[in-house]
Symmetry: D2
Subunit: 341 residues, 4 copies
């Protein structure tokens, strides 16, 4: 079968032929329909420090995907051949303290599809049956391909009640963009979005942001305070992974406010803990992956209610054009890029 | 001035002339614009057991109202003559354990305007300055008159996050009806309403209920389970104050679900604690009044965002037609009845 | 092997010889060391309405127990032959909404060892490997036998923070008695206990209750209010399962207080929802089983820190004297009765 | 009267004679018994950047104190002449968003006694009556003098339930030392303390730390992980205000853990947000002041139950020896230093 593979320790990827994977007793084989490219995939493509420390080539990439089950292992009961599913890429051990407390998404021995084992940018992927989320016919197939990043957005947004609250979404990559619509559906009464790309701010407006701010023009906190009657926002969703984004968010936060931290800074971040966190009694919550399976249930309920994230998908490419897809990601002006397998 | 007064210990009310009240140093005098009639007012009108134990005539009724400040006491700084305000009817002592913990709405020595001191069904009402909520021009004046019951609905609905959840509103009096719209704005993805009145169910549909159920036809739990794929609803708002309503709600609740209890049963209620609460690990939360001032801020934010509760106001009458107004309340088929002073 | 069996649909039990159970691939075989008798076992013994509706004889009783693993199924990895374990009696399906949200203890298709399948009042018991809790050498073996009811106590007590709070434990059966010590270790600064048995009140004192009240002398709420400076207690643990106990607890609760409801009333319970729950904004939480595995981790941490529940074990009998054991339970004056197998 | 005054914009303080302050209608005059010196006082003494930006000399210092009311303003009802009180130094406006939501301690227009108005290192202090906490006879007077920092410790420790949890207290200044004892009383089952001073580590042991670690020897996270079976601690109380302390705490935290951030770093702090907060889903909560009045009620309940913080008071000096007192503070090896007025 065709697969997009990190063949050697170094930059780049190759679309090559590899054997169809075999499955264990608790696994399923999925005929992949489409997949989304994620920042993680770009790290692996570019072979940066993190990738060098984590990835053991050869590896098939891809952890955001959907497809049809074509084979099931001997112990599998919860899904069946023919089911259309979206994949949860995080495989929990089930035995650590986090897992024993129902927090599978922060498993202490987490393994990730497309990172620690072969992924879904291929005609077929083998995966644990317990990581499949069976999909409703009502959900568009290309949305099914990006349930993973939509889940990130839902997890970040729903970690605190947003009803009757103001929210600033800092950073309008695909997850930030989806979060804007999620915030509105979750009851936020005023949603501000900031980014450094005009294209992404235009998408933010389309996703329902009440106010969009170009972060390049500076002084985001003052402008957010002005827009919220001086007090600042109740909630910040930090989706940029930039130190300045984090500072903007904290500076715009009202006393007693909440920050969901999802964007991953490269290296260490520096900020003014006394004035921006302690005196304010800010609450900062790290957000990672998706609660299994609460987040998936929430995302599904929101989609059924009418949540439309399709505007976030700006590019749909066949897997053969993967180089173009990764260039788009590097430019940081596109929305979501989907690869059709 | 004209005032609607319980003159003697017995049923009925009289519209009579009384002196304009004088104000203390921390009080304000309000020229009343309009007021809403509440179930509590009906209890006082009918002189039932509760009224006999609590009310000391003569008493001017009325605790849901709005109006314009025409005089302020010598120590008042937070509001001024000319301000248009809605009244919070619950006066907290500020010194008890609840008040000292910021839970003024469950003050242990709570006094209520129109119950424990003269109320607002009169040309003027004297009240503590600290109980006034200054209103935005954007809020319609007749909505301003019912911020109190709207606050009840908001308090009951927002006590738990509703994002991506299913909700059953049991009982479609004015508070239940307003709660339906609030639930949707707060992120509920499926809202079911039940009542025994066709008129109220029609209003429920108009307020946005996804499914309305006539409780007279029985077996509400089974029908709610059927509508939610067998599992039951995540959240119940008990707004009926009837034992059967409470049982319906508990029977329709999914394991681990939440119940906001707002409707006041007459006398004791009987239910199956083991099967409907304990085995399910249901959470039941008594809801009373409005959190001061969080609920008021939330209600204001929702109204600014577009919450429309005007369909709930089905009757607008001059105070002279108060007998008609109380008859409407007794029939339990109307929405909110407003008295113009 | 010897086993205590409900042989026929009717009152009583028989100690008879039955075959050693065989195990499935995900199961383990445990050589039972000792077991605790629970109220549920008494219901089955007496063949009451609940038992008639649920139990399908023949059935080996017993769901509180500890023992040594003597055989493991082919898929079992997390425990091994020779491990000493305590059994979690509740078997979750892993697939329902509750399970998918990590709330295995309120699984919608819960099956119980000793109720829905053969239990542990026998020389050997077969059970799912995933229901075994491996025990520390530091924990006494007879405490290991009652980790299940200790877990009930821990779950009820730790559902809300008790630090610097006052607590009333209503009902001093074994779970209530253990809860008294748990409350103190969890930070409660004043713990009141009530019961109708002098023996149990003496045990309550021994478990650390700051004040014990004989519920037969009436007016528990007034006496608790007096002991708490008039305000009432912050938290009630309802462990009696009697309507009067529930009323006592609610009447003694301060505004905004919390009630953990664990005791199972026979039939319906009646109470004054308006005055005892709604006006007070009481929060009532049904408590069932043990959170898997948070409660087990908490109980283990408390035992290691010095929690001593051995005074609660008042009787230790060989299984041959089971009739005597059940008589003790019926009298409701003993603490925990343990059967040695 | 004698008072310890910052007379001019520059380092140092002077003990001089100033007039006894007069009081407003809502104020009280307190004859000061004793006061505690705080890090804030040292900042003002040393006239650092923060002090230069905030303090307007002349100013009487001192915000941790107790004393006897000798005069009350005309509107004061909640306290009376002769009452012995401890002072809450933070004066809330009562009108901002935070205050209106009951979060007075993070008032947006907070003013502080001894910082923004004359303080209590003087024979008499004038203060709002609403900032007095009336004290029980059972509480030692020198503990009464430090209810403010004890309140910081209680607020930081009780922001999350500690029952059956492991805690690392990073930094053993007076607040950290008091927090150790508070954690144990609040149910923590294992408390680790770290500091760079041997004297303070000895005090930490005396306050009940189960394990004390000298931070100078490095690799605190590894040693904490080793002591907690590899997983890390459930809760970190960051009391050091040093970047390394924060990193130690985050590195020692288990996935899904909680951090109370109380220590104020000088300048910006730098840390690894991705690995130490986001992947772990750490929850960081800024902690400031004391919840009014929940924290005071909690501290009082703990003291009545037997909390003993007197070992933390290592030095008791007459106000005339204030230079010695400030030197002790600078050395960072003492516990609490109390000035007798």
């Amino acid at each position: 079968m065709k697969a997009l593979v990190k063949t050697d320790a170094g930059p780049g990827l190759e679309l090559i032929d590899v054997p169809v994977p075999s499955i264990g007793g608790d696994e399923i084989l999925v005929k992949v329909f489409a997949g989304g490219i994620c920042g993680t995939d770009l790290h692996i493509y570019e072979w940066d420090e993190w990738a060098r420390s984590r990835i053991r080539p050869p590896l098939v990439l891809g952890h955001e995907f959907c497809g049809t089950i074509v084979d099931v292992g001997t112990h599998v009961t919860q899904v069946a051949t023919g089911d259309f599913i979206s994949g949860e890429g995080h495989i929990a051990c089930g035995q650590c303290h986090s897992c024993r407390n129902g927090a599978f998404h922060i498993c202490e021995r987490l393994r990730v599809i497309g990172v620690d084992r072969d992924g879904a940018f291929a005609e077929f992927v083998a995966m644990p049956a317990g990581n499949a989320w069976k999909l409703d016919e009502s959900i568009p197939r290309e949305v099914a391909a990006i349930m993973d990043p939509l889940g990130n957005a839902v997890h970040a947004a729903l970690e605190v009640s947003l009803a009757a609250k103001s929210v600033a979404v800092i950073g309008c990559g695909p997850i930030g963009l989806m979060a804007i619509a999620v915030c509105h559906m979750a009851g936020a009464t005023f949603v501000i979005a900031s980014d450094v790309s005009e294209q992404r701010l235009a998408l933010a407006r389309r996703m329902g942001a009440d106010l969009v701010l170009d972060a390049r023009s500076g002084d985001i906190p003052a402008r957010i305070r002005e827009a919220t009657g001086g007090a600042g926002v109740d909630v910040v969703l930090e989706m940029s992974g930039h130190e300045q984004g984090l500072r903007d968010g904290l500076g715009a936060l009202r006393n007693g406010g909440w920050v969901s931290l999802l964007g991953l800074p490269r290296g260490r971040a520096t900020f003014d803990l006394a004035n921006e966190v302690i005196f304010k009694e800010a609450h900062l919550a790290g957000i990672f992956g998706r609660r299994m399976w609460r987040t998936w249930e929430q995302a599904t309920a929101l989609l059924r209610k009418g949540l439309d994230v399709t505007p976030v998908i700006t590019h749909r490419l066949p897997i053969a054009r993967f180089e173009e897809a990764f260039s788009l990601l590097k430019a940081a002006t596109a929305g979501k890029v989907i690869l059709y397998i």
